[in-house]
Symmetry: D2
Subunit: 296 residues, 4 copies
């Protein structure tokens, strides 16, 4: 994203915020929240809610709002809302839209997902800072560096995994990274690494989960003779390919499509599914609840 | 729908209602409405809102709520809400869910849409009373009468159009009909007829509107060599096939598909598109705004 | 299907046939087959071919053809083709289109798939004789008997499985059944039963296989939080839900959809997927190769 | 595409060709063609056929074949086939796969379609030479020149149209261009220009044709309140947006999507639809028949 785009974006967003709430369901929540916002002079731009169950369920809400000079009143809004939150035992967050999230991308040798993310980012459709891109191979360097994004090639072998992860964590900390996107990064992250980034690592798996968990999903899809192939974007947890699903999509294939063709068709599903998932995350549209996502 | 299904439905729905609102956008609307509902002891089950524009736009909202003994307090709720409504210059309605809408179906010789509606209705997925089905042909009688629904065959010629429409209107009035579904009814209704049923007549047009307005859309789709065919459900206005669109869908076709095949493929799109549109109408999910629909 | 429809169909189809071939790939197959047909005065209406691999692969072909007075020359065509077939070591069949396949439908309590099949059959879109419908419950009787199709209710318990299967096999033999459709038949057939009907039993599984093999797929899809649900039609083999896949499709769902809603959405996928698979089978479009299908 | 990719491609394709045929339908065509190929030692890799009508229709066929040392026998094959062709009054062509088509791309300010084409081309999925890219604006230069493709910026005003077209034609002739892709080129080409490139200009129109012919389709789709938007790739003829359709696709939109959002969603449909159409053209899969396409 060019600097002038960033300036326009921040100017445009500076008085907007997103409120995310989850709490035990009971009458009066919407009234209390919307009254609070009204009293602060805020105007609700969009609002979504969902309850897991009518009786004793969990209530979830996302509100986009704007208020005059909001960017100067962050602390005020946060302190003020604490009272409402306590009354309803809420887990909550107010995210101020002008603060762009800081996103790291991890990639290996397959570059189609990275390309799509960078393309969307250049068009101003993925609003994030990208302070660094990390790979275990050199392949991505030639498409990353022309965009003035720092590229770190950290090759890994079984023996060096732990050391390389420490270096990765150091880089993430150094750049205050908020979200990590695994854009076909073909290494499994250690439980320690994952634990430190809970619900902050977004992966793309090249199958329609829970079908074909693990390695070589296109080969296995070919062997099984499926008539549709898919891709799944999910948050990474310790259980391989078992994390909360954010988005999935599929395309039709037939008996003529060999593994090479499945990979080619699959690549176009992967890139659009991952781009949508990342976009929703950046816009704070996703609430993780247990092993599922609510996408508002 | 069997009587016992109806009883269960009404029991289940008797304390539920839907509030539809549209008004000039301004801060405080959600707060005022949700506070009103909270004070009446109502619990919000689902809520959706939309503004046409951030500045001086129109605001739309649909809230599903339940309240103890709601069915005994209809007048109270309506009177009470009038104050909120006046303050914000709202157009609004509160629809009590246990009152099933009374739906008439018009059909000609093609029965696939009628079949789908009756099937969904028998499965309890279209909650409506169907006091009568009207046709200009006898074909539908054999599938309608076994279901104990009165069937009126009113043949029409150019000369008798006016007289038959009068008879239709008399039947609609006599049965207190709320909504008319044209399930491939192949006659054009007069402006007078339409004017008396504004936003209450749902049609299925067998093309992807605005492509192929008017007669013989499949023949014209074939001649044009399109690669997708579609169907559109919309509210009927005086302008042929120009009313507010509720739902559309398409399927892929290719050079091998002749007109007969297009009609066959199209029939399956028509029936699912119409069924979805009717369902949304019965659940009060649709607000007509100018020549468009907001579907919550 | 009404008798007059059947007569028209048979009149229309009486000089048409389908040739199915599979053999080791080598040059000259198409030339030999098409020359044979040309010499018999046949005209090729449609032709499809596929090879698993360019070198030493398997070659598959389906040809639809017509020839004057074909219905009187069945033996001639079959004897004549034997020479071509031997030269290329073909597995092959010539199916004469006017001979309608004899189809039995098995169903339990969920009737949506049966309804769809009967509907397509009544519209003349599934060309088959249906000499009987078998169920382990009484539920389907009221929609089967009005169509003058014999309905057999054979309740099963664990203890009676073997005896009931014998009775089923007796009925299938008595009615010279060619193909069995399991339209949500919720019992597992014994290996003996399946072995006697190889590639002749078509099942609909209510998930996107290989995800959610076995029982309660909608419940498990809900628990996993998938964003798409699907259905799969396949030939039945001894391995539960592992047989060759014929057709699959999916629909989008979201966090708001509970299990009941998933089942409802799924039902509409199931019925269209099964209807397509059955249609392709009746039109001899499917060749089973190992554990996969080629669908021409 | 890198040189080494090209070398591999040509090595791989050097003995492959595609035969395209159209002629009045009659028995014996397939036999004659396949016998010819067999006698030349050719092996059929894929074959498709289609007839417009069973009686007195037009017959179309595409055969992919390979033969040892084919690239050295081009004249032989062409001369040899002439006899078969004359017997059946065929229009026909044999295209030798190793000869890559020479493709020019025209673009204006919107670059998403160009980007997609270049991306597919770099990945080796669009096998063509791209000797030049022409634009009436400078915007594309920065993504074209790094790929070592000559970029010509030829600005146009109403007054200079004729002169610029002459320059364009000169460039196309100089570079022996076989196919022109209008990747969101926002100028209407003159009838003279189009006449000289019959069925050789591929356009992407940003609507689901025949809906929204002409300018500003997204604005008009928004005004009409459609629930799906689409894109159409077609050959260019003199009638604006009326040429033979090659491919179409759509995506779902709703009342919340403003024109900006429709354009964004539409862009992703446009790029995939155009890329598919161009690919099919390069693989000689398309036969134009009247105002329609047969896509094999």
């Amino acid at each position: 994203m060019k600097e002038w785009q960033e300036r326009i974006y921040q100017e445009n967003q500076k008085d907007k915020a997103r409120l995310l709430v989850s709490c035990p369901d009971q009458p009066g929540i919407v009234a209390a929240v919307s009254e609070f916002l009204f009293k602060q002079g805020a105007n609700i731009l969009a609002s979504n809610q969902y309850s897991t169950d009518r009786h004793k369920g969990t209530f979830f809400m996302r509100i986009e709002f704007e208020a005059p000079d909001l960017h100067q009143k962050e602390a005020l809004f946060k302190t003020g809302f604490t009272q409402v939150a306590e009354r309803f035992e809420m887990k909550w967050d107010i995210i101020f839209a002008y603060k762009m999230k800081r996103m790291a991308i991890f990639v290996s040798k397959e570059l189609h997902c990275l390309r799509e993310l960078l393309w969307e980012w250049q068009s101003g459709d993925l609003m994030a800072d990208i302070p660094l891109i990390i790979s275990n191979h050199e392949d991505a360097r030639e498409i990353v560096e022309p965009l003035q994004i720092p590229f770190y090639c950290l090759p890994i072998t079984k023996e060096t995994t732990k050391k390389v992860e420490e270096e990765q964590l150091r880089l993430l900390a150094e750049h205050s990274i908020d979200v990590i996107v695994l854009a076909r990064y073909m290494r499994i992250l250690s439980p320690e690494f994952v634990a430190r980034q809970k619900n902050k690592i977004i992966n793309i798996h090249h199958s329609f989960l829970p079908a074909f968990v693990g390695a070589k999903p296109y080969e296995r899809a070919f062997d099984r003779g499926v008539k549709l192939i898919g891709a799944t974007s999910h948050y990474v947890t310790d259980d391989l390919d078992e994390g909360p699903i954010i988005e999935q999509d599929i395309m039709r294939v037939n008996h003529q499509d060999d593994v090479r063709k499945l990979k080619k068709i699959g690549a176009s599903i992967e890139r659009s599914v991952l781009a949508r998932a990342v976009k929703w995350h950046l816009e704070d549209r996703i609430i993780v609840h247990g092993n599922k996502t609510i996408v508002f």
